[in-house]
């Protein structure tokens, strides 16, 4: 293990404090903030306390993917626990050059969900009590995309978030949005382009397909 210096690195000691929402980021950086990179390095080194930071940062993502895939809070909690125990014990197998840490955690999550169903001796089935439009069990991939997108949309600053929500969920054109929010057309177009790019990047970086 590591030396007994038992000190913590300044740069890795403030998880979540540097949640960046600036819109001027270049591709890729927007979804891999400096804080995330530092948490990832600490985890890779096996630093004391790094598992807690990884857990604090990404357990909501993992838990929600499991919850939306399995539709059972207890099962989702079990899978979440199994994912982080497996991740810590198998951390030497994580290669930061081949993908992001949340992407790797999500890959473990997919396996744990599959293991769960295998242990139950069945493949996932739709639940009768759910409304008709949800009757098809959503593939885990679809769930991962939706949860990552929900997370990234919530991290957009304003007015970017409002603009994107109006475009997505109110079906407004950029001209209607510009008029509603009293913003120049060019500003709205620019925000739309950057926000969509950021969402696409998040799926590319964290939503790895295995």
């Amino acid at each position: 293990m590591r030396e007994t210096g038992t000190t913590t690195d300044v740069s890795t000691s403030i998880p979540g404090s540097t949640e960046e929402t600036s819109m001027g980021t270049t591709r890729g950086q927007s979804v891999r903030s400096r804080a995330d990179a530092e948490i990832t390095s600490a985890f890779t080194r096996g630093d004391d306390g790094s598992l807690r930071e990884v857990y604090d940062r990404w357990s909501p993502l993992i838990y929600t993917v499991a919850r939306r895939s399995m539709r059972n809070d207890d099962d989702a909690a079990d899978v979440t626990q199994a994912v982080f125990v497996a991740a810590w014990q198998g951390r030497v197998r994580f290669d930061p050059d081949s993908g992001s840490l949340p992407g790797w955690l999500l890959a473990i999550t997919r396996r744990k969900i599959a293991d769960h169903y295998r242990a139950m001796g069945r493949v996932p089935e739709p639940r009768e009590e759910l409304p008709e439009e949800e009757s098809a069990d959503p593939a885990v991939e679809t769930v991962v995309d939706r949860v990552l997108l929900a997370d990234e949309i919530s991290r957009l600053g304003e007015p970017q978030r409002r603009i994107i929500e109006l475009c997505f969920y109110e079906d407004m054109t950029h001209a209607q949005v510009a008029s509603l929010l009293d913003l120049p057309l060019g500003t709205v177009k620019s925000h739309v382009r950057r926000s969509l790019g950021r969402l696409r990047d998040r799926l590319e970086v964290d939503g790895v397909r295995r």
Binding site: A42, D47, S59, T142, F168, L196, L203
Partner: protein, 238 residues
């Protein structure tokens, strides 16, 4: 700010600009010449398709898809699973100095050094020479005071802490040494019942790097990081 950064409009090179591509992905109509281009340019069409897939997924996002934290019991189970495995002590030992917030500022300033009668108690317990001393001052909302000293014993330096009248708690008190900025720290140990406690300092411990003695109130929550609930604090005058 216009919000439009210097941007190469693709038309110069024959391709569509990225803003138009984004609008197409959202299902908006664009000028005829642009859609003519799209029909004949596989590269631009591929970009539109890629963004449209993102838009299509995003339009199915519901409130339930927003990440929510798992129950606290999940972390406790993780700690138990790793501990019982015996392979790791990740969960005990050195916490990371997280969530200190503005308490950090309090540590860095206002470090008056005086002396109080409790030093006699320290002397009685361990007569080794004192090489550094800190007056422990209450943090806002607290009224506990104390003294900490580093003594040079034949077995190496020890930290002696004398605090009285700590509030009763369901949790426990933990002793830390922090950087002046309180952005990094070393866990020294858990405070025992008596008024005077002593702790061996790790060999190689740099008191100049971690001069601030801090006592925090911790809960039995399985979280080994500093609770950010500091009670008293003071800087060594060495």
């Amino acid at each position: 700010m216009s919000g439009v950064e210097s941007y190469v409009d693709g038309r110069g090179s024959g391709h569509m600009d990225e803003e138009t591509i984004a609008l197409l992905a959202l299902g908006e109509k664009v000028a005829g010449e642009q859609s003519d281009h799209l029909r004949t340019c596989a590269a631009c069409q591929a970009k539109v398709d890629q963004l449209r897939a993102v838009v299509d997924s995003a339009r199915f996002v519901t409130d339930e898809d927003h990440p929510m934290s798992p129950p606290d019991s999940v972390w406790e189970q993780i700690v138990a699973a790793i501990d019982s495995d015996g392979a790791d002590r990740e969960t005990r030992r050195v916490p990371r100095g997280a969530r200190m917030g503005w308490f950090a500022l309090a540590a860095a300033v206002g470090l008056l050094v005086g002396s109080v009668g409790t030093l006699v108690a320290l002397d009685r317990q361990n007569p080794a020479p004192t090489i550094a001393q800190a007056e422990l001052e209450p943090l806002p909302g607290q009224n506990v005071r104390g003294v900490a000293q580093v003594r040079d014993t034949s077995d190496g330096p020890i930290l002696m802490v004398d605090v009285a009248d700590l509030p009763e708690t369901d949790g426990y008190y933990e002793v830390w040494m922090l950087t002046p900025e309180a952005d990094s720290m070393v866990s020294i140990g858990v405070l025992g019942q008596g008024e005077v406690n002593q702790f061996p300092l790790p060999a190689g411990m740099d008191m100049n790097a971690f001069p601030v003695v801090d006592i925090s109130l911790e809960q039995f929550d399985g979280d080994v990081t500093h609770s950010a609930d500091s009670i008293v604090r003071g800087a060594l005058d060495a």
